[in-house]
């Protein structure tokens, strides 16, 4: 019906011109009349009881309009409902916008101040006197799980907040049949994607409604939080431009939304709060520190018969995100492999660190790390080639659609091909030859060359019913499947505006939606514009209206495609009437509807005749149809509803089977599965332990590409983050649970100097179940990249007999590994 003139091409970015010119509109750029500026008082203690809070002096400071203390918060707000990530919480524990009785991590919010300037609000913070009764803090899962450990949440009776397991197939049988059991302990550290724009809220409360401008990825979380905590019914959530999300801006931001909203209600004035960098580092949420005790049952030819994994997650002071890093492992539980028997046991251990939150893959980088480290380890123990061990276990290209033992349906893919192409592109054989020569002649003794090749999936399209597979006792069914809307409207002048149900954090929503609409309607993307960013009062939104779970490709693309095609039908219905033509005979080219044999080639003649006022019967422009639809009932068909707009809510038509868990606990954790092979070539400096990435090659299958340049950017960015994580960026706590990395410099974010020039080849295999064959793109390359670097570094260090078990591979850690090996 439509050709793809725009989908699949790198059509120019709609968003870039305003950002390059400094015309982006972020929350901090907004100003309301009589607006106050808020600051948050945060805990200096990792674990303490709050005895008294005296805010009198702060309240009396000139310029200060309000102070909200823990007592106010307890009195004036209700605790949050546990929310989507709290599955597995044994006892309901009230969680408020700030700490009310105890503080449980450094940086936990304790009070909020509003003043006429930000500087004055900061002055006032220093005048708030908080009496703390310090408690012993626990900074590791081992310390927290000890019988003598101080309880962080007394209600739970233990710091092990949750434990449980999932098992698929006959795990014991697989272990009995095995020729060998390969065991390993693996660890991933705490890190974050540190969006460059920290949290930001601006709230205005009038008797009519409460409006919040907030850089949330999931406006539904903010909407629910304000309604639940403050009892406000008429809430409007507006999300302007968002300076990066990566999962960070989904969950904990709700605390601040409620505190700022409460302040706006108390003072009767608009209140803006902008988090600063150190606040974000200590309290904005971290990706979970994870430890895995793994056992693989293998046959002597490298076939993996089964796997047992004990996953211990350090979830920090979190209760409302207690199990997310466990449950998300269901999304890539078998990675790209056809293994049938697996048991994953989990423990969520509460410590006095920052709560964990979603972050570029949530748990999935850990799961991929387990598989890919184990593939290398199995190869070593069986004296096989690591690539061959992977090949031995990959799902075959002829097996798609492939259902994993836990119910995920991989629609399409060719994992062998991804691996083959990565090997060719990275010149694998040549690297191996060079490595052997350098080892032979001793030239590689100081700069040790290594190569690692791994493979992984990037799941997309969230299904919250997944959690029921782990928590069947859950009384309330979480939103199953997905729903997301879009609205497309033809304006009077023939241009098109549209509204999406979900916010963008830099994924080019406007560009890509315009490409889809342009192809559906037969017009140029230049004449299409997004009507504005997310606004809960105007945007059609549902449970999937969230910039999370890689939702855009599935729900937004489906919704905007559906709405555009609905609008096309209405345009054609009106055009057929106006032209007196058969509906089937109509064609649209460049915003003009032609009947019968007429075509755009005659356009010049049409223009000439239009100038002379001659009547034309074989074509009508969008602008002419727009004028009719909004202002001339006489030219509409009798039963035609005026106006030319269409709204469409998309639900994944192939969400079943397994949208809900079956008796075996099988459920579709996500709906699409992109995949990629990553090859890293590194050089390790023996003297300093510093790792330099010489080449980084990716071959990626993201299904039908909407805009290749956009997908390239997402792959570059997520790979760069995973590489930076592997090489040393991360949060470091002291034994007293004080955070030592409060700035981006201490934290160790890679710059242009450390980040390699990543190389990409696309190998798209369209998904058979999605609207246009598309699969997820966004966070994907952050999933296998830590494993790729680990594999390459281990390979470089292999002549010294070093194995890599723990991330990060900071110069300090690598140097220590080298020293240990030399001493031994």
């Amino acid at each position: 019906m439509t050709s793809h003139a725009h989908i699949g091409r790198s059509t120019p970015s709609k968003e870039a011109p305003r950002h390059a010119a400094g015309r982006g509109t972020f929350v901090d750029d907004l100003v309301r009349p009589r607006m106050l500026h808020a600051c948050i008082l945060r805990s200096l203690y990792a674990h303490a009881r709050i005895t008294t809070v005296d805010a009198k002096a702060a309240t009396e400071l000139r310029g200060v309009s309000g102070v909200v203390t823990p007592e106010d918060v307890k009195r004036l707000t209700r605790p949050f409902k546990p929310g989507r990530y709290a599955a597995g919480l044994r006892v309901p524990i009230p969680e408020y916008g700030c700490a009310v009785d105890k503080v449980r991590y450094v940086g936990e919010p304790v009070a909020i101040v509003a003043a006429n300037t930000r500087a004055r609000a900061e002055d006032a913070l220093e005048l708030i006197a908080v009496d703390y009764e310090a408690l012993l803090a626990v900074a590791s899962t081992k310390a927290a799980a000890a019988a003598s450990a101080p309880l962080i949440y007394e209600e739970l009776g233990s710091n092990v907040g949750w434990q449980g397991h999932v098992a698929f197939g006959d795990v014991d049988g697989a272990f009995q049949r095995a020729d060998r059991i390969v065991r390993e302990n693996l660890q991933i550290h705490r890190y974050s994607s540190t969006p460059l724009e920290p949290f930001a809220c601006l709230v205005e409360h009038t008797p009519e409604r409460l409006t919040i401008w907030c850089n949330s990825q999931s406006p539904d979380v903010i909407y629910d939080a304000i309604t639940e905590a403050l009892g406000v019914q008429n809430v409007r959530v507006i999300v302007p431009d968002v300076g990066g999300g990566f999962g960070q801006k989904i969950h904990l931001i709700r605390k601040y939304a409620v505190l700022v909203a409460l302040m706006a209600m108390q003072t009767g004035r608009p209140v803006k709060w902008i988090e600063d960098r150190s606040e974000h580092m200590m309290a904005g949420g971290h990706a979970c520190e994870q430890e895995f005790d793994v056992e693989a049952a293998v046959a002597s030819d490298g076939e993996v018969l089964g796997m047992k994994i004990l996953d211990t997650d350090d979830v920090g002071g979190a209760i409302s995100t207690l199990t997310i890093h466990f449950t998300n492992k269901l999304n890539n539980l078998f990675n790209t492999y056809k293994v049938q028997h697996l048991r994953l046991e989990g423990r969520s251990v509460i410590t006095n660190k920052c709560p964990v939150v979603p972050n570029r893959g949530i748990g999935k980088p850990g799961m991929c790390f387990v598989w890919e480290r184990m593939m290398d380890r199995i190869a070593q123990e069986l004296a096989l080639d690591p690539i061959e061990v992977r090949r031995r276990n990959l799902i075959g290209a002829d097996e798609f659609p492939y259902t994993t033992p836990n119910g995920n349906i991989h629609g399409s893919g060719d994992y062998q091909m991804l691996l083959n192409k990565a090997l060719v592109n990275v010149d694998y054989d040549e690297v191996r030859r060079r490595q052997a020569a350098e080892r032979e002649n001793g030239s590689g003794a100081e700069k040790m060359l290594g190569i690692g090749v791994v493979i992984g999936v990037e799941p997309g399209g969230r299904n919250a019913a997944r959690d029921m597979a782990i928590f069947p006792e859950s009384k309330r069914m979480p939103g199953a499947g997905g729903v997301e809307g879009a609205k497309v409207k033809l304006e009077k002048n023939g241009s098109v505006v549209f509204t999406l149900g979900s916010p963008s954090c830099g994924q080019s929503h406007e560009t890509i939606a315009s490409q889809i609409i342009a192809d559906a309607l037969g017009m140029r993307p230049e004449r299409i514009a997004m009507s504005g960013t997310f606004d809960s009062a105007l945007s059609p939104w549902g449970v999937s209206s969230s910039n999370s779970g890689n939702n855009f490709h599935l729900y937004d693309v489906g919704a905007v495609h559906g709405a555009a095609h609905r609008l096309r039908n209405r345009i054609c219905t009106l055009a057929a009437h106006v032209l007196g033509a058969e509906l089937q005979s109509l064609r649209i080219e460049d915003g003009v509807v032609y009947a019968g044999g007429a075509s755009a080639a005659d356009a010049a003649a049409h223009d000439a005749s239009a100038n002379t006022g001659a009547a034309e019967k074989d074509r009508v422009t969008f602008a002419e149809l727009g004028k009719i639809a909004y202002s001339n009932q006489a030219q509409m068909p009798d039963d035609f509803e005026g106006g030319l707009e269409a709204t469409y809510y998309h639900s994944h038509p192939h969400a079943n089977p397994l949208m809900l868990p079956d008796m075996q606990g099988r459920v579709r954790a996500q709906y699409t599965f992109s995949s990629a092979a990553h090859a890293a070539v590194v050089e390790v400096d023996r003297e300093t332990g510093r790792v330099r990435v010489l080449r980084y090659v990716i071959v990626s299958d993201n299904g039908t590409l909407m805009n290749p340049a956009v997908v390239d950017g997402q792959i570059y960015g997520s790979a760069a983050h995973g590489i930076s994580v592997a090489l040393g960026e991360g949060f470091v706590y002291g034994d007293d649970a004080q955070l030592l990395t409060l700035t981006l410099l201490d934290y160790g974010k890679s710059t242009t100097l450390e980040t390699p020039r990543i190389e990409i080849e696309h190998y798209p295999v369209p998904d058979p179940f999605t609207t246009l064959g598309q699969k997820a793109a966004g966070e994907g390359a952050a999933i296998p990249s830590p494993a790729a670097i680990a594999s390459a570094v281990e390979d470089a260090l292999s002549p010294m007999g070093i194995t890599v078990r723990h991330l990060p591979l900071s110069p300090e850690r690598v140097w220590a590994l080298i020293q240990e090996a030399q001493d031994a």
Binding site: G22, G24, D29, L196, G506, T751, L753
Partner: protein
């Protein structure tokens, strides 16, 4: 006690009264409404607030507004001329060298300063210079390419 400051910003004389502790970036954003200059860390690590002061690249969170007194400041809003984007801006747009756009004004200013000093930089020189700025979205590949293209355009 407020201090009077006056500076030329994007060719226009701007005056204001500020507390001595006011940072240049806050003066630009809050007093002058030039919100294209962003605050990502406020301690000079991310470069989102980069501007030119007397032609030199400066992180405006590391400078007080009073230190800008009687000086010439160029912000991201001052690069486009007669409604046409500056070649560096154009190269960022055409090269998909941005995603969320929050770091972009800082990167554009840093690239502009680099090319004013070194019209034909190598990739190594570009990466060295731009290490003053952080981007969490792009992995820098398309940014570096955009700077190369801008250099080429500007040399023509």
């Amino acid at each position: 006690m407020k201090k009077a400051v006056s500076m030329t910003v994007n060719g226009e004389l701007c005056e204001g009264e500020v507390e001595p502790r006011t940072l240049l970036v806050h003066f630009l954003r809050e007093h002058l409404g030039l919100t294209g200059t962003h605050v990502g860390c406020v301690v000079g690590e991310c470069g989102a607030c980069s501007v030119l002061v007397d032609g030199t690249l400066v992180k405006s969170c590391l400078m007080l507004a009073v230190q800008g007194h009687e000086r010439d400041v160029t912000t991201i809003e001052g690069l486009a001329k007669d409604g046409a984007l500056h070649p560096v801006q154009e190269a960022f747009v055409n090269g998909f060298a941005l995603q969320c756009g929050f770091c972009t004004p800082g990167f554009v200013m840093a690239a502009h300063a680099l090319l004013a000093r070194n019209p034909d930089p190598t990739e190594e020189e570009i990466r060295h210079d731009l290490s003053s700025n952080l981007c969490m979205c792009t992995g820098y590949v398309q940014i570096v390419e955009a700077v190369k293209h801008a250099a080429e355009r500007l040399r023509q």
